[in-house]
Structure formats: structure tokens, C-alpha cells
């Protein structure tokens, strides 16, 4: 409650009792706080209502279930027979365990709640960070919205990366509270231990939750290196670098953070694994690992961020530091190289521009030079800042309550009700009718499926043998190459199906149009199911018997849709 009566109520001069708030004055909020609260409530509602997109969510959830059941980490993918023998470094094991536990206890809606909670936590941490830099609410909100807009292509999906984003936001907060601390400031109290204990703890947790902890290490290193460059330029002395407190602090902090990340089930091996992960040849064919295209996903947002950056640098009087340049160059380049890096570029971008945004803002709307005096409550020495009232605090609380209560998460928490599947699951990545059919008539043996449905099928159809799943990095390169060949209906695709003894084809009409059309003209397969989204074929006869040598003919020998080409070779390979 925002206000209450003291045990011994004071009296006004006329003798009437005076209500004196018990809470400190800073709990009294203003109209601007109400606006900020409304923004965050809307954001929470937005995240809550987003359907669960099945990119790799179900794969991680299944692994989490497996870990909980077996009390050990998997050494091979337990749900992907074609990847048997592929070594697993489970860099997201803790996130998977959390997903698995939440899903087992609260179902998919629980995961949705976790997603909304993580996302809004990240936004709140970022908001606090930006506030510490700007000391203004509006630039703070602008910063948060900028992060959201630039990273939306990544931010709308539940995955272990969400933990990483939240932890990056917390790291930014911790570091900002240190770098922007002012003597006597709230933020400066207890900073010493917060930084030296908080950062290693956070990094240790991060290393066990998701491989993106490298982002945190890079961030801390950039501050150390950037500070060194700034010091060297300012002092015009290289030796000054080694004397500088900030350089020393962040160098040791980065090293401590690195040491903390080694506390994980794989130790140093995890670091090497994450550093070399992008070398996996399969990833070059995956959209999120491909370079950013200006007119493609996230491209426009990235371009806008660059324009905004240049504008702010032009108009800001705040110095452009080496740390800012380093961070923007590194993360900007990474985002251009790989679309998935947009999710990390966005908060770093907002963090680096915030001092400039704040500066420009302060010129447009300068802060009052003298802190306005508080307004005293009549009959007491209690003063509220101008424009603040506990009424606003109450309304803010009410807004939060409404937001929670009306969200799907609220329904789950308050009444145990969950949304219908059609609303809870993203239709494109989680075809419901398809799995309903497969639950009724389960496939036997190897199936061929779109990669983006692999995890979903494994989740919903027990015992299914997917061709590929979201674990593209665990897919043997030959399998991945064959998957793409079939999926695109490239010449020879039927023989590849034979080689894997595929008994059923599950096709996505939207992303596999060539193959879907080709199958209509292919004999040996029976149409088993079709809806507006998916189609299923079951093998009805043995594969053609003409290829005595078994060798797949050169690519030019078969065309999509072609039933069967005469074997070009004699049975022993070369004509005898």
C-alpha cells in the first residue's frame, strides 16, 4: 500500500487528523511514470500473446526433458538417429533443463509465460541501464523501443538465447552502474561488490545457459581495450594505459568473467566449441547465419539504426569514445555478416548511443538547474516531489495488475486456463492438423520432413525418425547436403530418398513447392494426407530396380518430377 496511518496520527492545526505516508517520497510516482508503466505493460502483453514459434524451442525442451529424466547430459542427440555418433557439447543445457521443467509442470503456456517474463526482464534491465546514463525517462523509453525495433526479427522467438539477452541486459546494467556512478548517487552504493561478484556470477550462469556468453566477454574486453585507447590518446602516453584505474578494472573483470565461464560441465572445451561453432559448414545454408540484406529480414531496421547513429554523433556534444566505436564496429560487422547477430547488436547499439541521445535530448529539453523543492503535506514535514503522487503509484500498480490478469500468463497463473492450441502455437512452424494425423497414423521408419518442423514432429509424434531437426550443427554434413537436395527437388532426389530408406515424406507446401509439385508426378508413393499447409506421402512400392550399381547418376540425368531415368551405367559400373 502506498500510504497508511502512523500509529499515533498527527493533527492539523484545526485538530483534524493528518494522513502521513509511510513510504519514502520516491515511491510516489508522476504522470511520466504512469506512461512508462503503460509502455512496459503493453510490452508484457505483447510478449504474452505472441504464439510460441517452433524454431528450436521444442528441440531444447525435449533435451531438457531428457536431461531431467536421465540425470545426465546427452553425449549424442537422443532424438535424431541420423546424427548418431555426432559429438554433442550441450552449450544450453541449463536453459534446456529450465524449459523442460517448465513445460512438464505448466505445459506450453508456462513456456510462453517464461518467455514474456524473460523478455520483459531484459527490457526493464535495459530501461534501468539507459536511465542511469540519461537520467531521463523519455530517452530511456526511446532506448528500449529502439532495441525492440532493431532486434524484433530475433526478439519474438522463445529460445535459450532469451536467457542470454536478459543476462546481457543485466551486464549492461551492472557495468553502467559502475561507469556512470556519481559520488553520493544511489547507483554508486555497493557498487564495488556488485561488480566483482555480480559479473562473474552472471557470466558463469550465462555460460551454462547459452553459448552467447561470448558476447558478454567481448563487451567487457571492448571496455578494457576502449578505455586503454582513450587513455593513451588523452594522456599521449602508452604507459598511462597500465596506470589507468578503469583499464585495470575492466581488464581484470574481463579475465575474471572468462574464468567464471569455465565453470561448466565441459570446462575449457565449451569455450573452444563456441568460438569455432560458426565454422560448421551446414550453417552457411541457414537463413539466420547468412549475411544481412538491407531489404531482407532486419535489414531496414539495421539501416535505420546506422542513420540514427550518424545523426546523433553529428549533433551530440558528448565525446565519441573508443569503446563505443569498438563495440559498434564489432557488433555492426557481426550483424552484417550474420543475421542472428542483430539480437546482440541492438542492445549494444542502444547502449553506445544513449550518452549521445541523452545529450541531444538535454539540449531540447534541459533539466532544471535547481532541483525543484518538494511539496509538503499539510501538517507534516513529509514532502513529495512536484507532480508526484501516490495516486499515480496506485494507478501504476493497477495497470500492472490489469496487464498480468488479462494476459494468457495471468489466466494460467490465476485460473490455470491456457489458450487454445491454435492461439498458443505459431501455425506456420507448428502445424497442428498435420501432427493430429500423424498421431493417429504414426509413421514407420525413416521420414523426410522440413527441417523447421523436425522438432515439432519429434515432440508430438513419439518415436518418429526425423530426417533433420533444428540441430543443424549436429547433422552430418552429407545428411544436410542430401536434405537440401531432396528439399529443393534437385536432380537425383528420389535416389537419395532410397539411400536413406525414407518411408514417408512430410512436405511444407510453402517452403518446398518444387518437391511438392514433383511428388504429384512420382509413382511409388501414395498421398496419405493433405491440407492447405502440408502434404504427406507414404512409400507404397520398393524403389526402382534398374540401378544395378546403386550409384546415383550425375545430376543432369534426373529432373525434378521425373519418375525414373534409365541407368546410364552397365551393372558393373563401366560398360564391360
Amino acid at each position: 500500500m502506498s500510504a497508511s496511518l502512523d500509529n499515533e496520527p498527527k493533527s492539523a492545526p484545526d485538530g483534524s487528523p493528518v494522513i502521513t505516508p509511510k513510504l519514502p517520497p520516491h515511491y510516489a510516482l508522476g504522470l511520466s511514470h504512469l506512461g512508462v508503466t503503460a509502455v512496459f505493460v503493453v510490452l508484457f502483453m505483447l510478449y504474452s500473446f505472441l504464439p510460441l514459434r517452433a524454431t528450436d524451442l521444442w528441440g531444447h525442451t525435449l533435451w531438457g526433458r531428457w536431461i531431467l529424466e536421465h540425470h545426465q547430459l546427452p553425449v549424442e542427440d537422443p532424438y535424431f538417429p541420423l546424427a548418431e555418433g555426432m559429438q554433442v557439447i550441450d552449450s544450453a543445457w541449463l536453459a534446456q533443463v529450465i524449459f523442460g521443467a517448465v513445460e512438464q509442470n505448466f505445459g506450453p503456456e508456462g513456456l510462453s509465460l517464461l518467455f514474456a517474463g524473460l523478455s520483459i526482464s531484459a527490457m526493464i534491465a535495459l530501461a534501468r541501464t539507459f536511465y542511469l546514463i540519461s537520467r531521463r525517462l523519455l530517452p530511456m523509453v526511446v532506448g528500449v523501443l529502439l532495441v525492440l525495433v532493431v532486434s524484433w526479427s530475433r526478439a519474438a522467438t522463445m529460445r535459450p538465447e532469451c536467457f542470454g539477452v536478459t543476462l546481457l541486459a543485466l551486464l549492461l546494467w551492472l557495468v553502467t552502474a559502475d561507469l556512470w556512478a556519481k559520488p553520493g548517487d544511489d547507483a554508486s552504493r555497493g557498487l564495488h561488490w556488485r561488480l566483482w561478484i555480480g559479473v562473474p556470477l552472471l557470466m558463469c550462469l550465462w555460460a551454462n545457459l547459452h553459448g552467447s556468453y561470448l558476447i558478454g566477454l567481448i563487451f567487457l574486453s571492448c571496455i578494457a581495450i576502449g578505455s586503454a585507447i582513450d587513455t593513451a590518446m588523452r594522456e599521449r602516453s602508452l604507459a598511462a594505459i597500465f596506470r589507468d584505474a578503469k583499464v585495470q578494472r575492466y581488464a581484470f573483470l574481463a579475465e575474471l568473467a572468462l574464468a567464471a565461464t569455465l565453470i561448466n560441465p565441459y570446462g575449457f572445451q565449451l569455450l573452444i566449441y563456441n568460438l569455432t561453432f560458426a565454422r560448421n559448414p551446414n550453417l552457411t545454408q541457414v537463413l539466420e547465419w547468412q549475411p544481412l540484406v538491407i531489404l531482407g529480414i532486419g535489414g531496414r531496421e539495421f539501416a535505420v539504426s546506422i542513420v540514427l547513429l550518424l545523426g546523433l554523433w553529428r549533433w551530440s556534444r558528448a565525446p565519441v569514445t573508443a569503446t563505443q566505436v569498438l563495440l559498434l564496429a564489432l557488433f555492426g560487422f557481426a550483424a552484417i555478416q550474420s543475421l542472428r547477430m542483430l539480437g546482440w547488436y541492438a542492445p549494444i547499439f542502444a547502449w553506445t548511443i544513449m550518452p549521445h541521445l541523452s545529450d541531444v535530448w538535454s539540449r531540447v529539453r534541459p533539466l532544471p538547474e535547481v532541483e525543484p523543492e518538494g511539496i509538503a503535506i499539510e501538517g507534516s514535514d513529509y514532502k513529495l516531489p512536484p507532480g508526484r503522487s501516490f495516486h499515480y503509484t496506485l494507478v501504476c500498480g493497477l495497470l500492472i495488475w490489469i496487464g498480468v490478469a488479462f494476459s494468457p500468463a495471468g489466466s494460467l497463473l490465476l485460473s490455470g486456463k491456457r489458450r487454445p492450441d491454435a492461439q498458443l502455437f505459431d501455425k506456420i512452424s507448428s502445424p497442428l492438423e498435420l501432427v493430429a494425423h500423424l498421431e493417429e497414423k504414426p509413421p514407420q521408419g525413416q521420414i523426410f520432413n522440413p527441417q523447421h518442423w523436425g522438432d515439432w514432429l519429434v515432440l508430438k509424434v513419439p518415436g518418429v525418425r526425423p530426417f533433420v531437426t533444428s540441430n543443424i550443427h549436429l547433422t552430418p554434413p552429407k545428411v544436410w547436403e542430401d536434405y537440401l537436395r531432396i528439399s529443393r527437388g534437385e536432380p537425383g532426389w528420389q535416389r537419395v530418398l532410397d539411400r536413406y530408406n525414407v518411408r514417408m515424406l512430410v512436405l511444407d507446401k510453402l517452403t518446398q513447392p518444387v518437391l511438392t509439385t514433383a511428388m504429384k508426378q512420382t509413382t511409388g508413393w501414395a498421398l496419405a494426407y493433405e491440407d492447405d499447409q502440408a502434404v504427406i506421402y507414404r512409400r507404397i512400392v520398393q524403389s526402382p530396380k534398374t540401378d544395378a550399381e546403386g550409384a546415383e547418376p550425375p545430376a543432369a540425368e534426373q529432373a525434378p518430377g521425373g519418375e525414373k531415368e534409365p541407368a546410364k551405367e552397365s551393372p558393373a559400373g563401366n560398360p564391360s
Binding site: K182, R243, A245, F268, L271, K478, D498, P571
Partner: protein, 403 residues
């Protein structure tokens, strides 16, 4: 705490500089050494210097009599045809006759001559002329040597076929090999099979045999794709596809499985479960073969599912005479190598084998010499199988040649 206070609490410059040198240096070195691409991506398991040779175990005169066998083998002696000699034929010849073969008639190359054509670029160049160095059979590839595959008559017809054939001819790892890049050892070819192998490659039958023959211990190893390979996994891969898919109507898959069973007798390489799965699988193959054998003793491409419809070869793919020789010769060959202990469980009744053996004899007897040359590759399996059913490798049969 403000920056000024912190500045007063910095550690001495030298101490900080040294500490950074040590910490950052150690971290960069550790990461650098681990991240740098390894020279050898595949850790090749320990290899035997000489291959495990799987010898025949049965001697059944009723399948082929001595004089019949000699007749057949005399007709199937290997030949060179100058620049028209096909490497695929040489591959089959070395496997059929082994490196020990010597013929009184010098028109027929010895086993050693066959092996040298495959493993010595100087001999290869002499046979194929001036263009041979531009398109050699053996291609130096980093630390190993690759074999050119499916690029015409001067190349091998199947992945790792040359290597496995030479291995079956009892070639040690230190056997000298000459490439356009200079002298090396047969080891370079064998190790390259390990480096290039993918569990899901199109042809895997001969790679499996190379592994089984040369791997010292049944230790698992990782392919360049990062996949752990052991003999259980190889066996599962071989059994994955439907029959008659695969080279020679799927028969090489069966032969490779039998080789695994035989090597397993020498040194356990299979788990009990996989061993049993192979036995069950081969029993099923035998059941199919028994059901689909033509009264005359042969099979065609439909061996897993149906009998040939006519005694006379048809001019349709899968039922030509050559197809019947493939199906029949290969079936006799893998049956001939079944471990003795498993024979009662896997082999068919005596008459099935006898009918097939006699059909091969009759067919070869009836063939013109030009047809023999044309169909040598298929016939090499049929001829070899007949020798195996007499408990011998072909070169061990006294041919009573005229010089």
C-alpha cells in the same frame, strides 16, 4: 566510489603489465592452439601392417567339380588390352586372382602386374600413354592418396573399390606406391579412405571392408564430419537400404556384412545385438533367394521379391544374361564366405547352391570369348565364388595351363 578514489587504488604499472602479459598470453595461446585447424582432421585408428584375409571355409565338390572349375577359371584369366584396359576390370581381376597369381601363358598378366598397374603411376603411364599423367588413377591429396572414381575407363568405378580390391589381394601397408607426386606407401591410400569416409555416402561397401581388414582394434573413430564410426554403425548403415538397392543388386552389401562376421570371428568387432541383427538379416536374404531362385539355378534383379519369369534371358534391364550372372555369382560368393558356425543358420539347402553353381558353370562354358571379355567384371565374382566353394582362392587352383 568515484574514479578519483579508484585511481588512487590502482596496482603498480609493472605488476599490472606483467599480469596482463601472463594472463592474456596464456589465454590467447590456449585458445589459439585449440582453435587452429588441426593438420589431421580425422584421427585414424591404429592399423595392421597386413590385412586380415578372409579365406573360404567350405569345400563342396557338388557345387563345382574340379574339371569344371579349371575350365571356368581358364576362361576367366585376366587380360590387358593396352590403352583400352579398363581399371574396373583390373580391380576385379586383382581381387579375383589375388597378387599371387601367375599364369604359364604370358598373355595373361600376373597378379603382381595387375597390382602394379593400379599402384604404380609409371606402369599406368606406360599402359595408357602420354595423357596418363594428366589423368592419373592415383591423385596425391595432402597427406594421402585418393583414387580417381567414375571418370571414365582409366578410373575406378566405385568409391574405395580399388583400395578394397588391392587389400583383398593381401597388400601390406608398406607396399610401395608411385604417384605423379613421387613414391609413397599403400598406407596413404588406406588412410585416405578413413579421411574421406562419410557414413551416408552413396557407396560404402568397400570402405567398410577396408576398415575391417586393416583396423588393428575395433576402436571407434571420428570421420571428418565429426561422426563416430564403429563396426556396429557400419553394419546398420549397410542394412539400412531396401534390397536390391546398392551395387550389383545389393549383393556387395551382403558380402561386406559377411566379411564383418568373419572378421568378428578373428577379433570381436560387433556387439552381440548387431551380430544377431546381421545374422537375422542374412537369414532373411537367404529366404528371399531360396524363394526366388529359378528352377535352372539363377536369379536376376528381382531376387529379393520374385522369380525370373523365363529360362531365356530377356532383353530388359535386370534380366539380361549379364544381370543373371551378377545376381547368381554374387549370391554364391557371399554364401561361400559365411562363418562355418553360422552356416546351418544362414545357408540354404545344398540343392539351392548346387543348382546355382552348375548354372554358372554351364553359362560360362557356353560363352564366347568376346562375351567373357565384355562381362569380365560380373564373371569375376562368379568364377571366384566357384573357387571359394572348393575352399580355395582362384590362384590356388592348379589350372594345367598350356604355356
Amino acid at each position: 566510489m568515484n574514479e578519483a578514489k579508484r585511481q588512487a587504488r590502482t596496482i603498480p604499472t609493472l605488476v599490472f603489465a606483467l599480469s596482463q602479459l601472463i594472463i592474456v598470453g596464456a589465454a590467447v595461446a590456449a585458445v589459439g592452439l585449440s582453435v587452429a585447424p588441426r593438420r589431421e582432421k580425422v584421427e585414424i585408428p591404429k592399423l595392421r601392417e597386413t590385412p586380415r584375409i578372409v579365406r573360404p571355409v567350405f569345400d563342396r565338390p557338388e557345387v563345382v567339380q574340379d574339371d569344371q572349375l579349371k575350365r571356368v577359371l581358364l576362361k576367366l584369366r585376366p587380360r590387358f588390352d593396352g590403352a583400352k584396359t579398363k581399371i574396373n576390370h583390373v580391380d576385379h581381376a586383382i581381387r579375383f586372382w589375388s597378387s599371387e597369381a601367375l599364369f604359364a601363358d604370358k598373355n595373361f598378366p600376373s597378379g603382381e602386374q595387375l597390382r602394379q598397374l593400379l599402384l604404380d603411376q609409371r606402369v599406368f603411364a606406360k599402359m595408357y600413354g602420354k595423357d596418363a599423367d594428366k589423368k592419373p588413377l592415383l591423385i596425391p591429396a595432402g597427406r594421402g592418396v585418393k583414387v580417381r572414381v567414375n571418370e571414365g575407363d582409366w578410373s575406378s568405378s566405385h568409391v574405395d573399390h580399388t583400395c578394397a580390391s588391392v587389400a583383398e589381394a593381401n597388400t601390406p601397408l608398406n607396399y610401395p606406391v608411385y604417384t605423379v607426386g613421387g613414391k609413397t606407401e599403400f598406407r596413404s591410400l588406406v588412410e585416405q579412405v578413413f579421411r574421406d569416409f562419410s557414413l551416408n555416402q552413396v557407396e560404402y561397401e568397400w570402405s567398410t571392408m577396408v576398415f575391417a581388414m586393416y583396423q588393428e582394434e575395433p576402436t571407434a573413430w571420428r570421420t571428418s564430419e565429426g561422426q563416430e564410426i564403429n563396426f556396429d554403425r557400419l553394419a546398420e548403415r549397410i542394412m539400412r537400404q531396401d534390397q536390391p538397392q546398392g551395387v550389383c543388386f545389393g549383393n556387395h552389401r551382403l558380402y561386406s556384412l559377411v566379411v564383418l562376421l568373419r572378421v568378428h570371428e578373428m577379433t570381436p568387432i560387433l556387439s552381440d545385438e548387431t551380430h544377431q541383427r546381421i545374422v537375422t538379416y542374412l537369414q532373411d536374404m537367404t529366404r528371399r533367394l531360396v524363394a526366388s531362385q529359378h528352377e535352372d539355378g539363377f536369379w536376376n534383379v528381382d531376387w529379393p521379391t520374385a522369380k525370373p519369369i523365363s529360362a531365356k534371358p530377356q532383353d530388359v534391364e535386370g534380366d539380361r544374361l549379364s544381370d543373371r550372372i551378377i545376381a547368381t555369382g554374387h549370391a554364391l560368393e557371399w554364401w561361400a564366405m559365411i562363418p562355418e558356425k553360422l552356416a546351418p543358420a544362414i545357408l540354404p539347402e545344398r540343392e539351392v547352391i548346387v543348382r546355382a553353381g552348375q548354372w554358372v558353370v554351364k553359362t560360362v562354358d557356353a560363352m564366347e570369348d568376346r562375351d567373357i571379355v565384355r562381362h569380365f567384371t560380373f564373371l569375376s565374382h562368379a568364377g571366384r565364388s566357384l573357387a571359394l566353394w572348393r575352399g580355395k582362392l582362384a590362384y590356388e587352383v592348379a589350372l594345367d595351363e598350356k604355356p
